[in-house]
């Protein structure tokens, strides 16, 4: 037996009691706090090792991300693709589908929007009220189709979706390159590997003159709220969770795992693709090779840190938006090199995935 002082035991018990009493507090606040502080301390050490002042670096990052209206607006803008792809991953993982393909689906959405914006929109009357919804619908369809491919492979052939979605990411990435570098979507002047800008009536308008806040942010937040309702208040969401947390029990209950896999994969792909289309239509009017810095992969961390809860995904997406904004600030104002800030972002991801996913997998394997 351990001979711990009584006071320690008592303190430990008290601590335990609080944790047991408020499981949600632990799940949603305590664990994420531990993860984040671990990551920030490690990163602080790295900044120190590189010869900079971590406090100064962090305060610059905070200041730029949240210190001004423009900064906050820019953080929101940066968060939107994380939120859309994060929701895509969250809904798939909830159903026990390990969709690693948000990146490819995001790109296919952007590609379809580029095609529509450069080739089709010019044939239509120049009204945003028709062009924008059409363009978004097209992206949803493209993403849905890109998501259905691994779903059908999984359901009919038993192909592991992790492998098939990674392969589809490669296909999407290189297909985009092909299209904009010598392909039919390359800019008319043929100077660089990028497309022409999309027609201005397909672009999402800016809500304010001073910064780039656009209606896509609202779409993403509303989708997060709708998905929360779907997951926890509808029969569809109930089935998604039942299949994800107990496939055999769901099958015995009469819910088809195959049907739900196809439906959810389709939905997941559509969400990521919508994110890609919004990003293109609101920010970069041209599609280029550097369009996505890996949003679809980071999305896995976004979703896992949010415990696959769509509402919490809003918060974690904001965090990732702030992080990417903040690393620009550290680079610009403190002089920390790009490589270091990228490393630091990756360290945060490692902490999140390493600690955050442990919980998820424990939950799934505990039966």
């Amino acid at each position: 037996m351990y001979n711990l002082p009584a006071s320690y035991q008592k303190g430990k018990l008290y601590y335990k009691k609080i944790l047991e009493k408020y499981p949600r507090l632990v799940q949603w606040v305590v664990v994420p706090m531990f993860i984040l502080s671990g990551a920030f301390i490690t990163n602080g050490l790295i900044i120190l090792l590189c010869g900079y002042n971590p406090i100064q670096a962090y305060s610059a990052a905070l200041n730029v991300s949240f210190g001004s209206i423009t900064g906050i607006g820019e953080t929101l803008v940066k968060s939107t693709p994380f939120l859309m792809t994060g929701l895509s991953v969250a809904i798939a993982f909830r159903c026990g589908i390990w969709n690693i393909g948000a990146e490819g689906q995001f790109l296919m959405g952007a590609l379809s929007a580029t095609w529509f914006g450069t080739k089709i929109a010019t044939l239509l009357p120049n009204t945003s009220w028709i062009a924008i919804p059409l363009c978004l619908t097209l992206a949803v369809l493209a993403g849905g189709i890109w998501g259905v491919i691994p779903a059908i492979l999984k359901v009919t052939r038993g192909v592991n979706e992790v492998i098939s979605t990674i392969m589809l990411n490669y296909i999407a990435i290189h297909f985009v390159s092909l299209m904009i570098d010598g392909g039919p979507l390359q800019e008319a002047s043929k100077t660089g590997p990028q497309s022409d800008p999309i027609a201005h009536w397909v672009s999402l308008p800016r809500l304010f003159d001073s910064h780039r806040v656009h209606p896509g942010i609202g779409i993403a937040v509303v989708l997060a709220i709708i998905l929360t309702f779907v997951l926890f208040r509808t029969t569809f969401g109930y089935q998604i969770r039942a299949v994800g947390e107990g496939a055999a029990a769901a099958e015995a209950a009469g819910f088809s795992v195959a049907h739900n896999t196809i439906r959810v994969f389709c939905l997941s792909g559509a969400l990521a693709a919508l994110g890609g289309a919004i990003e293109l239509m609101a920010l970069t009017p041209r599609l280029s090779d550097s369009f996505s810095p890996g949003y679809g992969y980071t999305a896995i961390a976004v979703a896992l840190l949010a415990k696959l809860h769509p509402l919490l995904t809003i918060a974690t997406a904001l965090l990732f938006g702030a992080l990417s904004k903040g690393s620009f600030a550290m680079e610009a104002e403190v002089g920390i090199s790009k490589q270091v800030t990228w490393m630091m972002q990756a360290i945060i991801l490692l902490f999140v995935i390493g600690l955050g996913s442990v919980q998820i997998f424990q939950k799934r394997t505990s039966k």
Partner: protein, 530 residues
């Protein structure tokens, strides 16, 4: 036989939070004794065994092995002190051979230092040490392992093929391997946790012969069971636990079966009232020439025909793994047929959803993976089938008030504890989890109820509760198909009786009073295991 005490527990107590799982238990095990531990589920039997086996550390009290005080922090400590355990759920690597499994156990021990060793057993000690030395070398030699396994099984008369893969063995043989594993490190005290739960009557006989042989070898055996008949047959001494406390200890035969039951339950057993009822009108389930493949491509169900009618319980007895599970899953649409057909109320619905909507309830054998979702709340698990879910939903949106009402109603009616709709089901006991399944599957009063091992792992009271609910279905003129490996249960409950063996279904209603004949049917007549 001398009465030397090999294991003694003094005032052993184990608490989990506020719960006293085992309270102040004193216990003595003699050399060469078969000592039965009787008790309901939750009486503390498993906790007591886990304390002896080093899986738990006692909160209070001490353990003495041959008079020396010991502390077991892990099962390794217990094994090193000569304690072996045969778990209810076998701890074997299915994809390895018998010899490899035994080598795996033995290789973890470099020596048997500290073990209790009667002096006349020096030879056996040397023998075991030699085995350990051979198998704990870095390089594993198949021949050594096979040879050691063979000589072990010859020494103790436990015949098993050392080169057979575990997954190809019957349950009875797997159990033998478990016993061999314990003997390979020379266990002087053998703990058997519900060893007969999965065996056919013949296999039980075989096991008892083995136990008697081990007894002659001066090994001590703790036999945990809640099957009265077997306990009375095999044991020398009986200890009864109730609610974590020792309530009785005495020589076998001092108390009658009824007396022991009274000690176990604290009250007289209430027998189920049965009304004889033979008006079999109205065909419900009609299976004709059904053939189904098992998971490994074998024919698990072979040309089975079966009919069930309104107002009857049809029982299918049989040893685990003879196609019962596959039969039930096929009727529920969870498994494709190779040949034949399944008709329910004259229709042939396709897919589990349609089958359930035809009015079929299903109590699957595997509660924790097929019956409930442990991470779901009680309320959510009460909705876990298509008709239930559709009842609480409007246009696909779950009506929270209706959901709340149904769940509180069912929790109340089926006495699910704790009666809190919003806690995860994983925190409930097995019996209460089963009540959730019952509440969900029986409350809509399905025309056909398929119940597979509905009382597995439940204590007597909970099992009786299940039986009452099945009989209630019968009284409502519904049809029940009861598939169970508990022969007593099938005999007690069913109007018509079948035995399933190696995928074939044999009508056995006329043999219901002849256990021997049933046992032979269950093991497929030619029985080589005994």
């Amino acid at each position: 036989m001398d009465t030397e005490t090999v294991l003694e527990l003094q005032n052993i107590t184990k608490t989990f939070g506020d719960l006293v799982a085992v309270g102040n238990v004193n216990f003595e095990l003699q050399v060469g004794e078969i000592h039965a531990i009787l008790g309901e589920n939750g009486a503390g039997k498993s906790t007591l065994m886990n304390l002896i086996y080093g899986l738990y550390e006692p909160t209070d009290g001490s353990i003495f092995i041959s008079g020396i005080k010991k502390q077991f922090k892990t099962p390794r400590d217990a094994i090193a002190n000569g304690i072996g355990m045969v778990h209810q759920h076998f701890m074997l690597v299915e994809n390895l051979t018998v010899a490899e499994n035994i080598a795996l156990t033995v290789s973890q021990f470099s020596s048997r230092s500290g073990a209790i060793m009667p002096e006349n057993d020096a030879e056996s000690q040397q023998y075991v040490d030699r085995n350990i030395a051979a198998l704990s070398r870095f390089r594993y030699k198949t021949d050594d392992a096979v040879q050691i396994t063979e000589s072990l099984s010859k020494h103790y008369g436990l015949v098993v093929d050392p080169n057979a893969l575990i997954r190809s063995l019957s349950v009875g043989l797997k159990q033998r391997v478990e016993i061999l594993k314990a003997l390979a490190v020379d266990a002087r005290i053998l703990i058997l946790d519900e060893p007969t739960a999965v065996l056919s009557p013949q296999e039980v006989k075989g096991l008892f012969n083995i136990l008697r042989r081990l007894q002659e070898d001066n090994r001590s055996i703790m036999f945990i069971s809640h099957k009265m008949k077997e306990v009375l047959e095999i044991s020398d001494r009986i200890t009864v636990l109730r609610l974590g406390e020792k309530v009785y200890n005495g020589k076998t035969g001092e108390l009658s079966a009824r007396g022991l039951a009274r000690e176990m339950l604290g009250e007289e057993l209430t027998e189920i009232e049965r009304i004889e009822n033979n008006t079999t009108n109205g065909l419900v389930l009609n299976i004709s020439s059904l053939t189904v493949q098992g998971n490994r491509g074998e024919m698990a169900v072979k040309d089975v025909s079966l009919q069930t009618f309104r107002g009857e319980i049809v029982g299918i007895a049989g040893v685990d793994g003879n196609g019962q599970r596959e039969l039930a899953e096929t009727v529920m649409g969870l498994r494709p047929t190779v040949g034949g057909k399944v008709e329910i109320l004259g229709k042939q619905p396709i897919g589990t959803k349609n089958i359930r909507q035809c009015g079929v309830g299903y109590i699957p054998e595997d509660r924790r993976t097929m019956g409930i979702i442990p991470t779901f709340t009680i309320a959510e698990n009460l909705l876990l089938n298509v008709p239930h879910l559709e009842n609480v939903a409007n246009w696909g949106v779950i009506d929270q008030t209706i959901k709340h009402h149904t769940s509180t109603e069912l929790i109340d009616a089926y006495d699910i504890r704790p009666p809190i709709a919003d806690i995860p089901t994983a925190t409930l006991s097995g019996g209460n989890q089963q009540k959730i399944v019952l509440a969900r599957e029986i409350s809509p009063q399905p025309d056909l109820l398929i119940a597979v091992n509905p009382t597995r792992g439940l204590d007597i009271n909970a099992a009786q509760y299940v039986h009452k609910n099945l009989l209630a279905q019968r009284e409502r003129k519904k049809s029940v198909l009861l598939i169970s490996t508990e022969l007593d249960e099938v005999l007690k409950m069913s109007d018509r009786l079948y035995v399933m063996s190696r995928g074939e279904l044999i009508e056995a209603t006329e043999h219901r009073d002849d256990i021997e004949a049933l046992g032979l049917l269950m093991t497929g007549e030619t029985d080589t295991d005994v």
